[in-house]
Amino acid sequence: MTTASRTPMRRRRPSLLSPRRRRLVVSILLAALCAAWIYPMLWMVSASLKTNAAIFADPGLIPSEPTIENYFRAWTEARIGAYFFNTLFVTIGSVIIVTVAAAMMGYVLGRRQFPGRGLIFGLLVFTLFVPQGYTIIPVLGLLSAVGLGQSLWGVMLATCGGSFVIFVMLFAGYFNQMPDELEEAARMDGVGMVKTFWFVMLPLSQPIIVTVIVMQTLYAWNDFLLPLVVTLANPAIRTLSVGVYAFKGENFVDWGGMTAASTISILPVVILFLFLQRYFIAGLAGAVKG
């Protein structure tokens, strides 16, 4: 919006606000909006530091008598600690599988001609436009059939399907627009396809890798329906989402414990996003261009 005013060059038409002033107004607007935007989260963190009695009695954001007792209770009694590691297992496992599988598939789809390529592309695009929440029953049926219907491994594997097609498309598009000379040179040097992929192409696709890691982490960490059904009969393998949800159902007056558990469960993804957000947006932009 305001990029036109990047240089000190004077505008020809008189304007109400100078570029700098307008930027200031936008800044103030955004700051106010963001404060309101994240108020629920601030309120949540604040409540997690108050005793249950003080949450509604002491409406201020800064607790007058801060306590971290809620966190101990959530971590041990509500088993948020165990759920945390369950979620970590599901997330890390699915991120590894998805990144490797999507990169390999995207590589051959983007750079090789082979019989069946068009068919695979067609299938990928077709499934992109079918909503996913309606396929939970067959997924669960499949997991049950292979004995993973009530296991964390089942959750991890099925979580890989979430946005897989989009990831393959991102990789295929990115590899497709790379100059041919790179592979040409590798072939001249007698380097095989596997090594070319692993040592040349994969390192070059870093922006897409970061995008995929961020998107899959968000998906796995937030996923709810699948872990909910898989863990219905087996509370020990709940993930954080399901654990927090169940906590609400079981201890519906322990708001302090609930908000503490909530805070624990959003912290890792918030930190991850803080560190990777620049690469994430750049990666998506690169993918859009490609």
Partner: protein, 315 residues
């Protein structure tokens, strides 16, 4: 690929075969994920929808189209169907507009703290719905909840409002929360689209003495318009997957007034809260029927957009 460019060698054919085999080998892990968790469920749903089946350990009985026939007469199904579409129509346009305004504001590289603002707006996206369920239930609570307290203090209402407990309000409350949660993602899509506008265009416009708003209206927006199609499609399909939010906040209640399609499917397939028998086949039929409706809608959307673009190109 370009093997023909290489000088012919005696082992060329063997090498070529190995290359092709390797290509397929590269596809194996991806196709396993795709086949098992994306393609198979789509195919299996159709089959399941023809069965009377009360659980994975029960014996399914083939009943033909009976599930579909029953579905067409089930008013709960049609209510959920309608709600899902209302929800989509209520959220997608607002989500697209709000996120576009935010993205245009935040795309200014000279704006201080813009990456902080981005992160803050993205915060609800990374927050699990279960957490949002807890926080929002607290925030909107009619008993001393901060939102109601504020509304009372400012004199905007005389009585507390039961945002999540009133059958009339609950779907709209959920829609607002949904927009709040997901605007960050759409904003990132717009930001990515904005990166494709070449800087030279801004340069040229500036030299011609065009104002910032004019640049936005006449240069930036038309350039990123093609992306709007894709973003709208993604947003519309996402808006159909609201199960987590609704389940975490209201579980479809009060009195089924926020029961959208996915919640209906979950309830008929798994929920035994009401003491009913799980009906996997019937739930699958609901899923297939709804999935097909959405696909038809998507295809229509794409065709309409193609038409619009073709006409636009003629100008």
């Amino acid at each position: 690929m370009t093997d023909a460019a290489l000088p012919a060698r005696p082992h060329r054919k063997a090498r070529r075969m190995r290359q092709t085999a390797l290509v397929y080998l590269f596809l194996v892990p991806g196709m396993m994920v795709f086949g098992a968790f994306i393609l198979w469920p789509l195919v299996a749903s159709e089959w399941y929808s023809l069965l009377d089946w009360s659980g994975f350990d029960a014996n399914p009985v083939f009943v033909g189209l009976a599930n579909y026939r029953e579905l067409l007469g089930d008013s709960y199904f049609w209510d959920a169907f309608r709600r899902s579409f209302i929800f989509m129509l209520a959220t997608v346009p607002a989500q697209m507009a709000i996120s576009l305004v935010l993205a245009v504001m935040l795309n200014d590289k000279l704006l201080k703290l813009s990456s902080l603002y981005r992160t803050l707006i993205f915060l609800p996206v990374v927050t699990p719905v279960a957490v949002i369920g807890i926080v929002m239930t607290l925030m909107l609570s009619p008993f001393n909840g901060p939102v109601n307290m504020a509304l009372l203090d400012w004199g905007l209402t005389q009585r507390t409002i039961d945002f999540l407990g009133s059958p009339r309000l609950v779907l709209w409350t959920l829609a607002v929360i949904y927009i709040w949660k997901w605007v960050g993602v759409t904003m990132v899509y717009w930001l990515a689209a904005l990166q494709t506008v070449p800087a030279e265009l801004f340069e040229a416009a500036r030299l011609d003495g065009v104002t910032g708003r004019q640049v936005t209206m006449y240069i930036v927006l038309p350039m990123i318009a093609p992306f709007a199609v894709v973003i709208a499609l993604i947003s519309a399909i996402s808006a159909m997957n609201v199960f987590p939010l609704v389940q975490a906040m209201t579980q479809g209640g009060p009195f089924y007034s926020s029961e959208v399609m996915e919640v209906y499917i979950f309830r008929t397939a798994f929920a035994s809260a009401a003491g009913t028998v799980p009906r996997l086949g019937y739930a699958s039929a609901a899923g297939v029927f709804f999935g097909l409706s959405i696909m038809v809608l998507t295809v229509f959307q794409i065709l309409a957009l193609r038409q619009a673009r073709r006409q636009g190109g003629d100008q």
